[in-house]
Symmetry: C2
Subunit: 255 residues, 2 copies
Amino acid sequence: MSNNTCIKDANCNECTVRSRALFGVVDNNNVRVTQNYRDKHRYFSAGDIVHFEQQPIDYAFTLYSGCLILYNDLENGSRQILRVALPGDFVGFSRNHRGELPYSIKAVTDSRVCIFLDSSIKKMMQQQPEIAKRLIDLQLSDAVLCQQRLLNIGQKTATQSLAYLIMELYSRIRVQSPNVFDNKTGETFFPLTQEDIGDTLGLTKVHINRIIVAFKEQGLIACSYKKLKVLDEDKLSDIGQFDIDLINDPFRHFS
Amino acid sequence: MSNNTCIKDANCNECTVRSRALFGVVDNNNVRVTQNYRDKHRYFSAGDIVHFEQQPIDYAFTLYSGCLILYNDLENGSRQILRVALPGDFVGFSRNHRGELPYSIKAVTDSRVCIFLDSSIKKMMQQQPEIAKRLIDLQLSDAVLCQQRLLNIGQKTATQSLAYLIMELYSRIRVQSPNVFDNKTGETFFPLTQEDIGDTLGLTKVHINRIIVAFKEQGLIACSYKKLKVLDEDKLSDIGQFDIDLINDPFRHFS
DNA sequence: CGACCTTTTGATTGGCGTCAAAATCTGTGG
DNA sequence: CCACAGATTTTGACGCCAATCAAAAGGTCG
């Protein structure tokens, strides 16, 4: 595991921009105040395990660049991917009753994160009530997405379920990771393999492949290894009963 | 829909006790302060729709007694139950981008709730940072349970999945609704029908029934209409890979 | 007591899993 | 620049878990 601490100054401008997911609620003139809470940067290479399930941890982080998957391994060797984190996402905040993260985290691509120690988060919440509200909103958005996924896996066919996932990730990548998304051609870098997709939806990679081939034949998507272009967003959204608003309009109830 | 506002004084002692889920973080001597935030009581009868999906709402509530289900209806007529709420649970806090609740709520049994207007919640968060932290913890516990359900539906067989659900609900009822749980015999009132269970797990009621019959034959459970007794908690927990600690040790990271 | 809901059972179907192997792609090192 | 090992995608044959359809039996409540 690569574990390099960022050599950049923690006050670098990029952090200020990137961490708006968490600090967007703070008055622009006061943004640099929040930089006191950021503890350090960390890089991970594709394939690195960022964290093992059921291990103690005393920090959370914002993902600056790259892609992480949050997952659980089961006794029988199968794996459920719970969440795909993209730049801007806040990760690692959940804890079980023993203070452990209830999932493992793996870097799918080279990734960069900025750490917030639990102690810093507590301080933030005390000193800046706006941050506490923002944390609540972030958690609520995650909860809604998680429930959508329940709906997906529980009630939809494999085809519907996959259509939804493709649209969700395609849309989120466009918004959260614009540097890998070509707005002219609509083609994007896509971080998951077909096996990863299967582990997200509770389906086998073989079955995922058959559906993808069908989507290609129907002219809905074009894709190759870690590349994706959605050719008919409307049709795919319709198949998966996907609502773009969920991605486009961020949840801002309290913050 | 019955919609009676509680005639009781909002400062009644029962409220103080029941709402510890939310206010347990507040110093005992100051608990009565929080009563200013409670807006009113409301009763619902079994079968009442408490809220329709995608309708605006400007409050959340604590469930005092009874049982609610939170669910989504799909175009094809199927239904996914997202969460089963028991006494003490805080409900209705999620909102989508338009401020709507992203699910419908139905009273499974006669239920009593205590309303908190959004405006009151905001005031609470401002004035009592401990409450903001508690809200975060409550959301985090829900998130963990939701992810567990993803794991259940996604990766487990119908038998494992059902064993998990039975153990989860049986354990939560024992803790959260002790008045319907007979500690001597182990028998409890169980609010869900086999069809409800199916809608929770993404399975049909027919298949649920076959598994239940098998569980009975194996001496794992005894049950009849809305009654349940788990005869072998260890075995059932083992089948469903259920961890009782998730229920017993409430999550208290920040509060 | 009667209407309705829930549970139970049987027969049949089909979607997705499993197993296996070939084809293709990727990235690395010589 | 090519070769090669390993990962990923693709394809085919077959099997099984859970869905579907249908109907009967039992329980609940007005």
